[in-house]
Symmetry: C2
Subunit: 215 residues, 2 copies
C-alpha cells in the first residue's frame, strides 16, 4: 500500500497526543527526587510532553498533549498542555514534573478544562473529557498490531492515543474501540511512549513539509 | 532515490550513537536537583541514553552509546554504555544522571576505555578515543542538511554522531569531515537529540525486520 496524504495542499497538521497513565497519580503528592517510585510512573508521561512539544530551540505551536492520570483516589484527572499557549517549557523531567505538580495543586473552579497557567489546563475526567475537548478530530490508537504509520492516511487534525509502559486500561480501550479509532503502529519493535511520539511527529513533519506528496 | 539496504540478508545491525556534549561536564560535580543548570546540559545526553538503549520492558542489546563530555577542566572524557553488558538501566533522567555521576567518580587505572561497572566504561578522551574504540564501522553524522535517513544506505555496523542542543564543536566536525563521515538528516524539522536517536533507531528496526527489502 502506498502512503496516502489526505490533506489538502498547504494545510498544516494540528496534532494532539493523548497519553494514558494507567497508574500515574492524579494528585500532586509525589516526590521530585523519586518520580518513578512515587508517581505511578508519571515520568513516562512527562517524557512524552517533551517529545510532543519541544523542538530544537523552540516549541511546536501546532501540538497539544493530554496526560490522562488514572492513578490514586482523586483520579481520573487530565492535564492538557497546549503548545500554542504554554510558556517557559523546559525539557528536563524534573522541570516538567514541577509544572504538572503545580498544575494538579492549583485551585480550580468550573467544569471542563480549567486553565491554571498559560497553556496548562486541568479537568476532573479522563478519556471522555479528552474526546469532548478534541472536538472534530480523527482519533488514532498506537498499537503494535496496527497499520504501519508510514502507510496510513493521516488527517490534518489527528489525535494520537497511547498507553504508558503498562499499555492501555480496558475501559479506555473499549471507549476508543467504540469510537472506531484506527490502530496504527510505528514499527516492528515495541518502544517507549516518548519514542512513539517522536516517530509520529517525524512522520507528520515530513507530510507537512511535502503536502500532497507521498513521503 | 529509493531506499537502499546494503546488508546481507539476516545480518542484524549493531548500532552506536555518539553524542557530543559541547559543554557537558566531564566531572561528577553536578547536582541531581538541577541537572540543566549545573552539568552543562548533561540532561540532553542522558535522554539519548534512554532512547538508544531502552525499549518497552527491555534493553537493546545491539546498541552502544558514547557520551562525549567536552565541558569543564578535566574534559575531554567519554562515558560508554553498552547495551550488551549493562544491567539495571532505568529510563528516568535522575537515575541515568546518578549512573553517569558514579561512573565519572569511579577510580580508574589504564589507558583506553576502563569499565567501572558492568557495561559502563570511561576514557580520558573525546571523539578520537571513540573512533578508535568503534573499530570497523561506518560513521554517519546527523546534520539537517544531510541526505534523508530513509533513503540512505545504512551499514550493518553504523555509528551515528550527533551534537547536543548547541550542535557540533568545530574540532569534532573537522575530525569527522576528515574521516569522510556521511551526513544524514532525520527530517524537515530540527529536533532534540533524543528524538533523533529514536527516529534513527526506528529506521534501523524497520530494516532489521525486513532485511534486503525496501523499507
Amino acid at each position: 500500500m502506498e502512503p496516502i496524504d489526505d490533506r489538502p495542499s498547504g494545510v498544516r497538521s494540528r496534532r494532539s497526543f493523548v497519553v494514558i497513565g494507567a497508574r500515574a497519580t492524579a494528585s500532586p503528592d509525589f516526590r521530585l527526587a523519586d518520580l518513578p517510585g512515587t508517581s505511578g510512573r508519571l515520568d513516562v508521561l512527562l517524557r512524552c510532553v517533551r517529545a510532543a512539544l519541544l523542538v530544537s530551540h523552540g516549541l511546536r505551536r501546532d501540538a497539544v498533549v493530554y496526560l490522562v492520570l488514572l492513578g490514586g483516589p482523586v483520579a481520573p484527572r487530565t492535564v492538557r498542555i497546549d503548545g500554542a499557549a504554554v510558556r517557559f517549557l523546559r525539557p528536563d523531567e524534573r522541570s516538567l514534573a514541577l509544572l504538572v505538580q503545580k498544575a494538579l495543586a492549583a485551585p480550580r473552579a468550573g467544569d471542563g478544562f480549567v486553565e491554571v497557567r498559560s497553556g496548562v489546563a486541568v479537568v476532573d475526567g479522563g478519556v471522555d473529557a479528552v474526546l469532548l475537548d478534541l472536538g472534530e478530530c480523527t482519533v488514532y490508537v498506537l498499537d503494535e498490531r496496527g497499520d504501519d504509520l508510514r502507510e496510513a492516511a493521516l488527517a490534518a487534525q489527528g489525535a494520537f492515543v497511547l498507553g504508558d509502559h503498562r499499555g492501555f486500561d480496558e475501559a479506555s480501550r473499549a471507549r476508543l474501540d467504540a469510537l472506531g479509532a484506527r490502530r496504527i503502529s510505528v514499527g516492528p519493535r515495541s518502544v517507549h511512549a516518548d519514542d512513539v511520539v517522536a516517530i509520529v511527529s517525524n512522520e507528520l513533519d515530513r507530510r507537512d513539509a511535502a503536502p500532497g506528496a507521498r513521503p
